[in-house]
């Protein structure tokens, strides 16, 4: 797996918020890599910087946030050096995004057809009818019956699951190589969630796309991802393939996260520990992040040096790297 050149390679990405109260390093050195046709799950709590990291791939971090350093390579091009016109060409055509809330990500005053054909006509010289046909084909592909009827409807006439299907169709219109899915199922009912995830998995395999799946939901990631990167407070904790992360997690945060996820195969009533475990404390205020390892104030294994040294990713097994001083990571003073 590692000898294939990655489709997307993000290294040491730093996105800082420049507010009046000071600089908040929301993303402070995240690394991740998405190989062709692979799904990477980017997992973390709210505020861990995972959404910022995915927006950074499109160079769309909203002000007052700015990408301060790092490199984002996509198909061997450094996205941080592209100009605005090249970025517009990239967005939607090569990298597409699916948003968290389908209700708000469609423009309320245009029909579905208008919104779908709009993108095609920006990126490819197609006629109106050809664009419409392609949009109808895609709606059929994402499992929408009577697409011609739907194309004439407005977003408010459709259900949430239907809207998310349309958002997925919109993302797929130009055959992108990479899909960024930012919590694609968080705002949907559980039954619809399952349908949408199945649809995404099916389309990903059929269209041979790579996907960056941003989620806080371990269940969603377990179902979809080939590899997983766990982030905490703006830094990468652990990266490995999905099986490794779920069966032999190394980083204390990954372990805690997994233990605090309810499991259907666990008998809570007769276990020695009848309640679900939680992670004590709360996610740090990023305006004043903890020194050393960012997880150390909440970490059960933390020692003196964890507050002093910042762990550097360390490969504990091929393709499995961990940033924790207790797992052999070298520490740098910071």
């Amino acid at each position: 797996m590692t000898d294939v050149p990655p489709l997307l390679n993000v290294r040491n990405l730093k996105v800082h918020f420049f507010t009046q109260a000071g600089v908040a390093p929301a993303v402070d050195g995240i690394d991740f890599r998405v190989n062709p046709r692979e799904t990477l799950g980017l997992v973390g709590e709210s505020g861990s910087g995972k959404t910022m990291a995915s927006l950074a791939v499109l160079r769309l971090v909203p002000p007052p946030a700015r990408i301060v350093s790092g490199s984002i390579e996509f198909q061997n091009r450094d996205l941080l050096t592209l100009d605005e016109a090249a970025l517009r060409d990239l967005r939607g055509k090569h990298v597409a995004m699916i948003f968290q809330n389908p209700a708000y990500s469609l423009n309320p005053i245009f029909t579905i057809g208008d919104q779908l054909t709009e993108i095609l006509r920006w990126h490819e010289p197609v006629s109106r009818t050809a664009a419409r046909d392609r949009a109808a084909d895609l709606l059929r592909l994402v499992g929408i019956a009577d697409p011609l009827q739907r194309l004439r409807q407005f977003p408010h006439e459709l259900s949430g699951g239907m809207k998310q299907r349309i958002c997925i169709a919109r993302a797929l219109l130009c055959n992108p190589a990479l899909i960024l899915a930012d919590e694609p199922t968080t705002n949907l009912d559980v039954t619809i969630q399952a349908q949408i995830l199945d649809l995404l998995a099916e389309l990903r395999d059929r269209l041979r796309m790579a996907m960056l799946l941003v989620s806080h939901d371990m269940g969603v990631v377990a179902r979809m991802a080939h590899r997983i990167t766990v982030v905490y407070a703006g830094r990468t904790c652990e990266t490995g393939d999905a099986r490794t992360i779920f069966h032999t997690p190394q980083h204390p945060y990954t372990r805690a996260l997994l233990e605090s996820t309810p499991r259907i195969d666990h008998d809570y009533e007769h276990a020695t520990r009848p309640t679900l475990r939680t992670i004590g404390g709360r996610i740090p205020n990023l305006a004043t992040p903890p020194t050393g390892c960012r997880f150390h104030p909440r970490c059960a294994e933390a020692t003196e040096e964890c507050a002093q040294l910042r762990p550097v990713p360390f490969e504990v097994a091929p393709g499995h790297s961990v940033s924790c001083l207790k797992r052999g990571s070298p520490g740098v003073a910071a």
């Binding site: 769309l60 967005r91 995004m97 948003f99 423009n107 309320p108 005053i109 709009e118 993108i119 407005f154």
Partner: protein
């Protein structure tokens, strides 16, 4: 656009169920109708002063002169009918100018934010504190003096055009403030972000995605502004600063206020016309506001 967007159609349906909004719409429609086809049916030509010759000036309403005649011997009904196109031209023209400036200034301020926003909004506030009325009177008078002896002098309705442009130039700040607020709200909406993510140009984002969504709110202030502009023009004309060649309701008041006790009809008729028109636009604005922002009412 192939067909009217859903939001607007919904608003239209809600307006049709709103009694005062519907009344406003009918009044406005009536005024528009009078302005469009009234001159065809006016009993006299607007500059017919023959009543002066037959000593029937200041005459009470009769079958020949339904609203009576005024002190200059004009038929009041005819003059009131001919005042309607002037009033609408002033209202629509002034608000067109004001909307273009207001949406540009407010939209840019809201979309860009930061220093640009700060500068543009201070500029807007500067315009808000200018005593508009005195300013317009002064400029209208000065301009009509400056223009003497230049080719501009021969342009028809130059004075009226000046008033329209001035009302527009001083009427945009409320529109700019609302446009700023709307653009500020909409630029962070997910669908705008989504448009950016699919490679939309800033131009498309502003005019295709943000502006149409801001329009329902803007239409309300614009409708309100039309009534205000008509009222302002009437006041300017009433003070004798209007266009002498344009027939306006304010001008009728100006000609006849001295004979108010002798021939009240010559004042009541144009006054009533102003009342109906301004009331119509205000009620319409109110109805539009309820129709497009139904949640604000509770």
């Amino acid at each position: 656009m192939a067909r009217p967007p859903g939001q607007f159609r919904q608003g239209w349906h809600r307006l049709c169920r709103n009694r005062s909004g519907l009344l406003g719409l009918s009044l406005v429609a009536f005024v528009v109708l009078v302005a469009l086809i009234g001159p065809e049916f006016a009993p006299y030509t607007p500059n017919d002063q023959s009543a002066m010759l037959s000593f029937t000036a200041k005459g009470a309403p009769t079958w020949a002169h339904l609203f009576g005649t005024d002190r200059n011997g004009y038929d009041v009904l005819t003059r009131v009918i001919y005042g309607a196109p002037t009033a609408l031209a002033v209202g629509l023209g002034a608000m067109l100018v004001a909307s273009v400036i207001g949406i540009l200034v407010g939209g840019i301020a809201g979309y860009l934010g930061g220093t640009a926003d700060e500068l543009l909004m201070r500029f807007t506030e500067f315009f808000l504190v200018i005593p508009v009325f005195i300013m317009i009177l002064a400029v209208v008078r000065l301009f009509s003096i400056v223009v003497v002896g230049t080719p501009l002098e021969r342009l028809p309705f130059l004075n009226l055009a000046t008033i329209i442009v001035l009302l527009g130039l001083f009427g945009w700040p409320p529109i700019a403030r609302l446009a700023r607020a709307e653009f500020l709200r909409l630029k962070n909406m997910d669908f705008v972000e989504a448009a950016r993510c699919i490679g939309a140009q800033p131009r498309d984002i502003l005019f295709r995605h943000i502006l149409p969504n801001a329009l329902p709110s803007l239409v309300v202030v614009i409708a309100l502004g039309i009534g205000g502009a008509i009222l302002s023009e009437s006041m300017i004309s009433f003070l004798g600063f209007g266009d002498p060649k344009a027939i306006s309701w304010g001008q009728l008041l100006y000609f006849n206020y001295e004979v108010l006790r002798v021939s009240p009809w010559a004042v009541l008729a144009p006054g009533g016309a102003i009342f109906i028109t301004v009331l119509g636009f205000n009620l319409l604005a109110d109805g539009l506001s309820d129709a497009f922002n139904p949640r604000l009412k509770q």
